[in-house]
């Protein structure tokens, strides 16, 4: 950053702006044509806000009228009324307002390039977000090249068209936010992005029914009485019981309606009223297949069995929704980031 406005001279290599080597430009002139927003106290405390914004135009010896017009225009642009704030001093403004002034000061002389060196890191989250929005908006209105340094990945993803990730002075990856999320160059980038934001490879792993199913569904043995099965349903708050033998082999299914139909018959057992299980799905099946079955046959649930027809779990609509709720937030986040980028 400081290399670009020649606050530091490169030990080797050259920097070109519009194919002109900046090493051959007078640093003072160069800096007046590059906006610069620094991290903390960038405003001059002994100058009014208006004078602070006008620093570069003053240095460039603009006419008075032009300067004051420009100052008012810029202050309007970031929502600080010139009448109220022009003649105040920086210490009378909140941190967010001060940094907003810092941003428009960098814009004042209409430079093509603006450097921002962690400009918002000292601000509270709310001001930071507002200023990020301001920067995005100003960029869209003014079409400047903004070089923005940050340690905050969210900030980078929100603002940038292109992100350059650097580590110990060398470039690790330079790409669009979208591609960085999808194809992080190495573990450093991956850890920097954070597991949560990472878009899993092949978009997102299709889960199997095992991940989604309710474990230990409520079961009943076929030799139990009807009243007993009702009691179990009541206790476990379900309307259907799976009928299994002692080895958890799936024998059938019994719903509360089947039971109530025959409730008068005291001698009947669950085994007499149960219905055969028409649809079952074996362990390891991808979830979409299960969902399709559920949807196709309008099932309220679907038994998951292992290779020996033992009941190991249950897919219900509820369990599918619950699973999606667990997975979905991480997807929305990265989707948001991508949208933010395209805005």
């Amino acid at each position: 950053m400081k290399l670009i406005n020649r606050l530091i001279t490169p030990t080797n290599g050259t920097i070109l702006i519009n194919e002109e080597n900046i090493g051959s430009i007078d640093p003072v002139k160069l800096r007046r044509n590059i906006g610069y927003v620094i991290q903390s106290i960038g405003l001059f405390p002994h100058m009014t806000i208006g004078r602070n914004v006008a620093v570069v135009p003053h240095l460039k010896k603009w006419e008075k009228d032009r300067i004051s017009k420009r100052v008012d225009e810029l202050m309007e642009m970031v929502g600080l009324s010139p009448e109220t704030y022009r003649d105040r001093y920086p210490s009378e403004l909140s941190g967010g307002q001060q940094q907003r002034i810092g941003v428009i000061r960098a814009l004042a002389a209409d430079p093509d390039i603006i450097l921002m060196d962690e400009p918002f890191s000292a601000l509270d989250p709310i001001s930071r977000e507002q200023l990020q929005d301001d920067v995005i908006r100003l960029q869209q209105e003014l079409h400047k090249t903004i070089v923005f340094v940050t340690h905050d990945m969210d900030e980078a993803l929100k603002i940038a068209d292109r992100i350059v990730i650097m580590r110990a002075g060398s470039v690790v990856q330079s790409d669009t936010p979208e591609r960085i999320l999808r194809y992080p160059a190495d573990d450093f980038v991956r850890s920097f992005i954070g597991q949560q934001r990472l878009v899993p490879e092949n978009t997102y792993d299709v889960p199997t029914v095992d991940e989604v199913m309710v474990r230990q569904p409520v079961t009943v043995y076929p030799n139990r009485g009807l009243a007993e099965s009702i009691a179990i349903m009541e206790r476990r708050r379900v309307d259907t019981l799976f009928v299994t033998d002692h080895k958890r082999n799936l024998k059938g299914i019994v719903s509360i309606f089947n039971v109530l139909d025959q409730y008068g018959e005291e001698n009947m057992t669950v085994g007499d009223v149960m219905k055969p299980v028409l649809h079952r799905i074996s362990s390891g099946t991808p979830l979409p297949q299960a969902v399709e079955l559920l949807n196709w046959h309008q099932l309220s649930n679907l038994a998951v069995v292992d290779d020996k027809n033992r009941l190991i779990g249950l897919i219900t609509r509820g369990s599918v929704v619950r699973h999606l709720a667990e997975v979905y937030p991480t997807i929305t986040e990265s989707v948001d980031a991508e949208q933010g980028d395209n805005e």
């Binding site: 610069y36 001059f44 240095l59 109220t84 507002q130």
Partner: protein, 233 residues
């Protein structure tokens, strides 16, 4: 001094009888101090600026001015007298040399304490080093400089009191006349205004110093708390 005890009335009486002479001494005293300190400002601030530019230079200059400062005032004035002869010039030069150290030192400290981020901001917006000096560094170190002047002025008022020993003017004359005549009235009449002068200089420059604290500058019209930032879409 085996005189009958003096009353306050005697003192007032003496002062009113010798008003014209005392006023003259008083103004001579002020003029010596003003010229001495004024010279120190004119020379000291640029020296302080040079010091802030180069560490080596700072070390030499600060050591020199420090040396001047530790020479006892009487010795300094007498040494200067050997060179410049008797008279007010000797006193003024002495005061100048005495005031130099606080002014140079405070200018130097003031300039170096300016927060680096202001300097970086100044460089970043493309100020030349002269612009930086006059628009950023000096304004932001003005309290330090005024404080140096304040120290210098208070010391100078005191040192100027021994001016008559080397042929100078000022309130010291009255004091020495009092000592020679064993007249405590005259000693009081010289010492009290001199002390008052030092106190007044201290208070006035102290007030100036507070007013010049540009780093927490506020506009006059607003004592209000900064308003909450406007939210905007």
């Amino acid at each position: 001094m085996n005189q009958p005890p003096l009353t306050f009335a005697d003192f007032i009486g003496y002062i009113s009888r010798n008003q014209a002479m005392l006023w003259e001494y008083f103004f001579q005293h002020i003029v010596m101090v003003l010229i001495g300190v004024g010279l120190a400002i004119v020379v000291g601030i640029p020296l302080g600026i040079l010091c802030s530019r180069s560490k080596a230079f700072a070390r030499i200059i600060l050591a020199l001015t420090n040396l001047l400062q530790v020479i006892p005032s009487l010795a300094m004035l007498v040494l200067l007298m050997l060179w410049l002869g008797l008279g007010s010039t000797t006193v003024t030069v002495g005061l100048f040399l005495y005031s130099l150290n606080p002014v140079v030192r405070n200018t130097y400290v003031g300039l170096t304490q300016v927060h680096p981020s202001y300097v970086e901001a100044g460089r970043g917006v493309g100020m030349s080093s002269i612009q930086m000096l006059f628009q950023v560094r000096l304004p932001l170190s003005i309290t330090y400089i005024v404080s140096g002047i304040r120290i210098a002025a208070v010391i100078a008022v005191g040192v100027a009191a021994i001016a008559p020993l080397v042929g100078g003017e000022g309130l010291g004359r009255e004091i020495y006349a009092g000592i020679n005549n064993q007249n405590s009235l005259r000693i009081y009449a010289g010492a009290i205004p001199a002390a008052l002068l030092a106190i007044i200089a201290d208070i006035l420059l102290g007030a100036l110093q507070r007013k010049m604290n540009l780093e927490n500058r506020r506009s006059r019209k607003s004592d209000v708390v900064p308003p909450v930032p406007k939210t905007q879409g």
